[in-house]
């Protein structure tokens, strides 16, 4: 299992524990944890509705691919800490990370 922290749109933080051996993406875990993540395209890095900021531990995650950067750079708001949650596999690399939700709230 991997533990990391999620900060919602209102700034509330919650510790999340996720299995690291089932091939889940961070987007899937956020959705399963009832966070308002649209994930319109289902995880193809094509819609950017799972936009998050990695406030702590971004370097451990490695570089984003061109496809992902393509989406991120077209967003009105884009930060050096920005990533798409669907492109991050749940694994040791996420241990201790702090993830802040950025994608448009669904409500």
């Amino acid at each position: 299992m991997v533990n990391f922290t999620v900060e919602d749109h209102d700034g509330n933080r919650q510790e999340i524990e996720a299995p690291d051996d089932m091939g889940f993406s961070l987007m899937e875990i956020l959705k399963a944890s009832e966070y308002p993540v649209l994930a319109t395209c289902g995880g193809m890095a094509l819609c950017a509705t799972c936009h998050v900021e990695i406030l702590e531990g971004k370097d451990e995650l490695g570089e984003a691919t061109d496809v992902e950067l393509d989406q991120l750079e077209n967003l009105p708001e884009y930060y050096p800490t920005s990533r798409l949650a669907c492109q991050i596999r749940i694994g040791d690399i996420l241990e201790g990370a702090v993830v802040k939700l950025r994608g448009e709230d669904v409500v």
Binding site: T40, C41, M44, L46, A48, E73, N74, P76
Partner: protein, 334 residues
């Protein structure tokens, strides 16, 4: 006023296939979609992606599936209103509905079918003070008629294909075109990017890189756009129009105001016929929810078939519906 049997809101794969199922029962359809083309997410988000779970197709490209569906429903002569969002549903005394779009198109229908997927795709907006004040008064998120910009000073913002393409196009029409992009390079089509750099070096457009929108100003109508460059220096540009092009994002939109029962951005339906709690309004495809719901195109197709048999009674109240196979009767056009 457009008159039809069924008004289908959403022209994605499920909305399109619904026309086929309606057509087999001799019901005519008019489709409305907020996007300028049919196909919904498939055409807008992933046209070139292969889909592997459409029965009978081991693999089919999203856009090819849409094209095939259009071919399949041709015999039933569906009509379309594209690029307009449905804003209102008004119930008439006889139980039918009048649908009104954002561009004031009116459609009179006996039955409403909401096949709206994730809602309407709406432009992503930059976060700027007073943005709303100037929407429609200089700020626009879509180029509907390029002639609007003839002889005007236009600022475009964004770095994707549409920002590049419209910069190239409008450079021939507008008095002055400025493209603002937050990076030094473009990820859009390399050809278009090269053309934009050429236009800039020839002095035909102003290209401002590593800059962000900061402010919009004007007196009733837009007259200036202020940017911040990398060093946070302010650059103020005279502008009649600002076109932010940051892509599209789905929003439930006005559907939320139609008195339907909504759970987590989806419409609750009765699984016997995918009817909503409101008579003559059905919801099929990704927009609906029920116990065990799977957001799959093939489930939406199934829902469309079941739902049409239920809607028949509103279109032909005096007729008895007899179930027929296409293998026996073929596809009889109107």
């Amino acid at each position: 006023m457009i008159h039809t049997d069924l008004c289908i809101i959403g022209a994605g794969p499920v909305g399109l296939f619904a026309v086929f199922e309606a057509g087999l029962l001799k019901m005519r359809c008019h489709l409305i979609d907020a996007l300028p083309q049919v196909g919904g997410q498939l055409s807008e988000i992933y046209p070139q992606k292969p889909i592997y779970d459409i029965p009978g197709y081991p693999e089919v490209k999203a856009q090819d599936l849409v094209d095939n569906l259009m071919e399949q429903i041709k015999p039933f002569k569906p009509t379309f209103t594209l690029g307009e969002r449905v804003d209102h549903l008004d119930k008439q005394e006889d139980g039918s509905y009048i649908v009104t779009t954002s561009d004031k198109t009116h459609v009179h229908a006996k039955v409403i079918v909401i096949a709206g997927g994730l809602g309407c795709f709406e432009p992503r907006k930059p976060v700027l003070d007073n943005l709303e004040t100037f929407e429609g008064k200089g700020i626009t998120y879509m180029v509907k008629n390029p002639e609007t910009f003839r002889g005007k000073k236009v600022v475009l913002a964004g770095g994707g294909d549409s920002a590049l393409d419209w910069t190239i196009y409008l450079s021939k029409v507008a008095e002055k075109v400025t493209l603002v992009h937050r990076n030094e390079t473009f990820r859009g089509a390399p050809d278009s990017a090269a053309k934009v750099f050429d236009l800039a070096s020839q002095g035909k457009i102003d290209l401002i890189l590593s800059a962000n929108l900061k402010e919009v100003g004007g007196n009733g109508v837009l007259n200036s756009v202020t940017l911040h460059d990398k060093a946070k220096t302010e650059i103020k540009i005279d502008a009649d129009y600002l076109i932010p092009l940051f892509g599209l994002s789905p929003k439930l939109g006005p559907i939320a105001d139609w008195g339907l029962s909504i759970d987590k951005n989806a419409i609750e339906v009765d699984t016997r016929d995918y009817s909503t709690g409101v008579e003559r309004i059905y919801a099929i495809g990704d927009i609906n929810t029920y116990e065990g719901k799977l957001k799959l195109i093939l489930c939406g197709f199934h829902e469309a078939a079941i739902m049409m048999h239920s809607a028949f009674k509103y279109v032909y109240p005096d007729q008895k519906l007899s179930f027929k196979y296409t293998t026996v009767n073929g596809v009889n056009t109107f």
